[in-house]
């Protein structure tokens, strides 16, 4: 397909709490991706950085920050921010530049150094900022929203906290096999049930932590890959970055109220489902073609919603898949073979790039003990604040 771009290299800095700057992590991930690609830094024609809001000015100009840390060499530079989807927008920007002939080789980097505990809004009194208001007026943290969604599933579909715990057990088992994951110890359902309640019905082990981490990709055109002797690279076939449609009737972070559906009938399709559908349409594939999926498990319960949104099952059937082991390693369609956010914790601008790193290693057959046998097609899915979301389809 003419719209494909090749993944020449993938690299990560391990997730954790390392106490260093995001620049240090990002540079390490970039070097790893360049080494993996066999590309020298001077050959890179464009750098796209996914921004972080936690690193001061260097975080806002992430692309330039990483370029400077690697050593100025004159490359075109771009920095993008899209909340949790920042990494995917960085990938999409690189893809567009390659397909437009603006650059042969593009380096994509996302990195974060996260605070302990809840994410909080930027400082100062900003009563015009919904993200400030939800904390000021309601104390509504991110886990509070995850708790609302989880309880809604319990009421609508009969999911139980035991079902949610199974997601953590599954992802922890996979993460234990991933050297880049922050949490590498298997977790039992009893341990989930014994952890403290954070936002009823969700417990500490149902909710993803915030982490330091970095991920990078080296992307290029198919012709360039062939000239480099890479005849059969992993290809990015679709990147979806669609926005919601009015009226949005599911309460989303950081909103205090949904849109009103008085004037316009809401779409029967959820925003998350539309993110995945757009990627499937662009790639010309469907959920039945998938070998694996990496989805944004900000909470255990949210992973079950993604099963439905990416079309692995019908509405309300997510819990059944995890109960039957369908989405575990060795199951019919492994989800979060990397260990997911449950094992990584969230490093916001790096996370969507890390999802594509995992697809890359899986599709190359380099995923070691967590390898999905014969993986050919993978999708990532992700959602963030302020109407952002992404899905990437990679094939080989």
């Amino acid at each position: 397909m003419s719209g494909d771009v090749a993944v020449l290299g993938a690299g990560m800095h391990p997730w954790g709490k390392w106490g260093r700057s995001f620049v240090s992590y990002g540079r390490a991930a970039a070097r790893a991706a360049l080494d993996d690609a066999g590309i020298g830094w001077p050959e890179v024609g464009s750098v796209v950085g996914a921004q972080t809001v936690r690193g001061g000015y260097p975080g806002y100009v992430a692309g330039a920050t990483f370029a400077r840390a690697l050593g100025w060499q004159g490359a075109r530079v771009t920095s993008v921010y899209a909340a949790c989807a920042s990494g995917a927008q960085a990938i999409n920007t690189a893809r567009a530049q390659i397909l437009a002939g603006m650059a042969d080789v593009v380096l994509v980097v996302g990195a974060d150094a996260a605070p302990k505990g809840f994410f909080a809004p930027a400082g100062g009194d900003r009563p015009d900022d919904p993200d400030w208001l939800r904390f000021r007026v309601l104390g509504a943290t991110n886990p509070a929203y995850f708790g609302l969604y989880a309880r809604r599933r319990m009421a609508l579909y009969g999911d139980s906290p035991d079902d949610f715990a199974l997601v953590k057990v599954k992802n922890a088992a996979a993460g234990a096999l991933n050297a880049y994951a922050r949490y590498r110890t298997p977790v039992t359902a009893e341990e989930v049930a014994a952890s403290a309640v954070v936002a009823d019905p969700l417990r500490l082990l149902d909710i993803c932590a915030t982490s330091d981490g970095a991920a990078a990709l080296v992307l290029c055109g198919m012709d360039f890959a062939r000239r480099r002797g890479v005849a059969d690279p992993v290809r990015i076939r679709a990147v979806s970055t669609v926005t919601p449609t009015f009226p949005r009737t599911v309460l989303d972070l950081p909103d205090i109220g949904t849109d009103s559906a008085v004037a316009v009938e809401p779409s029967p399709e959820s925003f998350r489902a539309s993110i995945a559908r757009s990627a499937y349409e662009e790639a010309g594939i469907g959920p039945e073609d998938l070998s694996l999926a990496e989805v944004y498990d900000l909470s255990t319960a949210l992973e079950l919603e993604w099963y439905e949104d990416i079309g692995l099952c019908g509405p309300g059937e997510g819990a059944k898949l995890v109960r039957e082991g369908v989405t575990a390693l060795g199951g019919r369609i492994p989800v979060n073979a990397s260990g997911g956010l449950a094992s990584f914790g969230e490093a916001v601008p790096a996370q969507a790039i890390a999802q594509v790193c995992e697809l890359t290693w899986q599709l190359r057959g380099q995923a070691g003990d967590r390898q999905v046998p014969g993986a050919r097609v993978g999708i990532t899915a992700n959602q963030g604040l302020f109407g952002h979301g992404s899905a990437v389809v990679a094939v080989r």
């Binding site: 809004p121 904390f135 104390g139 309880r151 609508l156 954070v198 205090i256 109220g257 849109d259 004037a263």
Partner: protein, 154 residues
């Protein structure tokens, strides 16, 4: 002297009204009838809107529980709480308003837990206190959702 009562955000709910008259205040577009809460005073967000004026409107007093949760840990600033005082969890509830066809979030009244708020049950909006500042002699007021007793539903 009673403390000065200041709404946590001006214009989001009625002030100086008795509990029965207390309402959330949003805006309604005269062009397409869409309701916005928190209030949208600059533009209607309906992309198909023919254009109209945004007028203040009181939202329905009652709605049904869409979902609820609680905050077992102290939220970070700008939520105001005294770190010297042990944290008392509160309940958050998302409420579906039938007439406005929308969901609005809020804290539940003190003492109301998630067990009191099954999905689909009826709640009503009442005035509440977010926090008191004895030093400044002020009270920040807010809205709370409270279950409606079944016998009161007739």
């Amino acid at each position: 002297m009673p403390r000065t009562r200041i709404p946590v955000v001006a214009g989001w709910f009625t002030e100086d009204t008795a509990e029965e008259g207390f309402r959330l205040l949003g805006t309604r577009c005269s062009g397409c009838r869409s309701v916005h809460f928190p209030r949208e005073d600059d533009h209607c967000r309906n992309p198909g809107c023919p254009g109209g004026e945004l007028e203040e409107v009181a939202l329905s007093k009652r709605g049904t529980v869409w979902s609820c949760t609680d905050g077992r840990y102290r939220p970070p600033p700008p939520y105001v709480s005294d770190p010297a005082v042990p944290w008392v969890p509160y309940t958050l509830v998302a409420v579906e308003l039938a007439a406005e066809r929308m969901v609005v979030l809020g804290q539940a009244a003190p003492g109301v837990g998630v067990g009191d708020l099954p999905v689909g049950s009826v709640v009503e909006v009442v005035p509440g206190v977010l926090e008191e500042d004895p030093a400044a002699d002020t009270v920040h007021t807010t809205w709370h959702w409270r279950p409606v007793a079944v016998e009161a539903l007739s």
